[in-house]
Symmetry: C2
Subunit: 173 residues, 2 copies
């Protein structure tokens, strides 16, 4: 059975027990930003039900332009007011060699990628940086309730990163 056949078969069971439809606007008014990592099941880890939050996921859970675009739409048109950034232990972007990766892509394809590939060195510091970037974004109407957390892929435990989470000015908003 191919992977797509497997998904199609699993989907039949899901449809049979489907609990939806849910409303379009997230009921908890929260957007969660996290890594693409296969070990992160956010519905399970946060106890989510269908229709509760927006989920943004990319390599590293980084606050990229694409995340800011999505979050601006989420807050302005779909009623979210709160953000939770989740980084996780053992992330592939920890210590990622940006320059080496760009050189590898350029050598193989004949041209460097048109995008950056930033890695980071410390998970908690990265959570604080992500939160600070969101708080400084002029296109987000709701920046008072931006939270950060670290998820441990060995245990499933989510730990909020509270200390030293400050606004761009260095004071907690």
């Amino acid at each position: 059975m191919s992977e797509m056949e497997h998904f199609a078969a699993a989907n039949q069971g899901f449809v049979a027990g489907y609990g939806g439809p849910a409303e379009k606007n997230p009921r908890r008014h929260v957007t969660v930003i996290a890594c693409m990592d296969a070990r992160l099941d956010l519905f399970g880890a946060l106890g989510l039900d269908l229709g509760e939050v927006h989920l943004l996921r990319n390599g590293g859970g980084l606050v990229t332009d694409d995340v800011l675009r999505s979050l601006a739409i989420s807050q302005r048109y779909l009623g979210t007011r709160e953000v939770l950034v989740v980084h996780h232990t053992d992330c592939g972007m920890l210590g990622f060699d940006d320059a080496g990766f760009r050189a590898e892509l350029a050598a193989e394809s004949g041209r460097p990628p048109t995008w950056d590939v930033p890695g980071f060195r410390d998970i908690e510091a990265q959570v604080r940086e992500s939160v600070a970037t969101l708080r400084a974004c002029p296109w987000l109407p709701h920046r008072d309730d931006i939270h950060g957390a670290v998820y441990d892929v060995r245990t499933g435990k989510l730990a909020e990163v509270l200390a030293e989470v400050t606004g761009p000015s260095g004071t907690k908003p």
Copy 2:
């Protein structure tokens, strides 16, 4: 109870029954690209277990530079070889007014956003365009198994979009 307190309480139950840890490299060697929409529970809809696939999610499930960056890392360093793009019915990016949104942000904040906000007009056409964009990306080593599907938020049903899915040259790879 605040939203964060709710998530923390739910996480305690998740930790108590945690089935992990899983391996870092996705066991099914698949990356799924989908929208941030709150009505999409991909673990449920595709019958996923922890550690099986990478999940990339943004507003619209669009194939942005951030998605290409993440997917290049997924394929080159974490062993994925197959991609599934999932767009869904009733998407907020259907008929989205890019120019109007940019003007609104510029008027409120005093400066236009540094990023584009492309909408689309037709879900199936957008699936085909997303698949074509991925197949044409020179930085992805695995472009033979790129699939597209539409998810129906009323029923939970996933329908593969097969017809007219072609390579950049117009022929099915």
